[in-house]
Symmetry: C2
Subunit: 260 residues, 2 copies
Amino acid sequence: MEGVHFTLPPAEPRLIGRKALAVNLSDIAAMAGTPLAATVSVALPSSRGNAFAREVHAGLEELASAFGVSIAGGDTNIWDGPFVISITLIGEPGEQGPITRSGAQPGDWLMTTGHFGGSIHGHHLTFLPRVNEARKLCEAVSLHAMIDVSDGLAADLHHILEESKAGALLYEGAIPISEAALEAASGKPSLEHALSDGEDFELLFAVASEDGRALLANPPFEAMLSHIGEVVSGPGCQIVDSRGNRRELPAAGWQHRFEG
Amino acid sequence: MEGVHFTLPPAEPRLIGRKALAVNLSDIAAMAGTPLAATVSVALPSSRGNAFAREVHAGLEELASAFGVSIAGGDTNIWDGPFVISITLIGEPGEQGPITRSGAQPGDWLMTTGHFGGSIHGHHLTFLPRVNEARKLCEAVSLHAMIDVSDGLAADLHHILEESKAGALLYEGAIPISEAALEAASGKPSLEHALSDGEDFELLFAVASEDGRALLANPPFEAMLSHIGEVVSGPGCQIVDSRGNRRELPAAGWQHRFEG
């Protein structure tokens, strides 16, 4: 929704079209599924004309082609309001069935792809959804739980922990921090960006420790793999620093709220 | 889209939710398919609050239950803009496969369910999509072409004729005119309402003449069945009155256009 999820400018219509599909692909990746077909509905601002619609479509089509997705239908509407785009993406599960958030077990390793934080500086518009990485993980190991990090690493970890009825211990020094977060002159520690910014669209997953070791020894893809912590039986989530000091890590993600 | 497809008030959120699904069900009916599952995405105005969202959902759920449709997912968003709702409805084709607009043949009967015109006076919010009627037609006869009438009887007939590369002759006296069109004090003839108002969400279909006769002799459902004309080989569409006078019937439906 223009004015909520993006502003035009500075966002370009091509990148907004691309992102609208990319976030859906990331949702399919989170379950280690294979995307097949998308329907795309748009409310196009009449003042922006055909060129705008063509740019949005080009951005969609670029990513759809890259992932073998058919744009199979949808609804094209024109109004005097802001630009709105809604996508339904159909996929099929992999051999392990849909990977959910609920199967993390005490003793599991918590692992991630890629780096975290500062996505707002560009990554959120240009990221490649981790569809192929998820499929390769699914072929290599038994995935106990997985999620794509959209709300923030801490918030999405809490989603896994709530569904799995478990706790976690994160290793502060092991969190892969993005260059954008390291370079952000926000006054906030870069670790805080990595834990709470969101829109990283990386995978966070839980596997048995021996599977985690096997992945690190023989990574099935080029994207960075990190072992950032472990699942524990108690509730809640703690983060431990290099001196062994532990502190609570609250969920701190984006919340949708009604007024009043 | 609020302000384009409906205005709140006078439209009620429950009926808007209902209609958003109903028009999708009507699209599935047009191909004689069976609806299975829907995804529903909404941009909810923050000022309207939870009660509004619950009303929309109640309207959706009522019709979903009636047609055995699962509301399987979607996206709930809140903003300061107007209400927008987008639905993707998944269905499966019947035994004849998806019925398209392209199979009408010269000599076919053109037939309809229900009555036409004046839908704006209420029918467009409360109509029952012809899913069951389409399925029964599909079981009873070979459907050469079918469409649901949303743009208007004349406009949607033209859609069939263009796709089928054929023409048509309509019998003026056989067009079933709704009470709302007969009672409309618009100054326009009620026949014109029936031919051009749109949003009737009735079925218009082409079948072999012997199948048409069989349907009239032994109607497979309670909804009114009418034989309104025939498919001819020439291009264009004519309408003939009781004295045998013919005139051209142009398409005159709703067009989506960009400014400038």
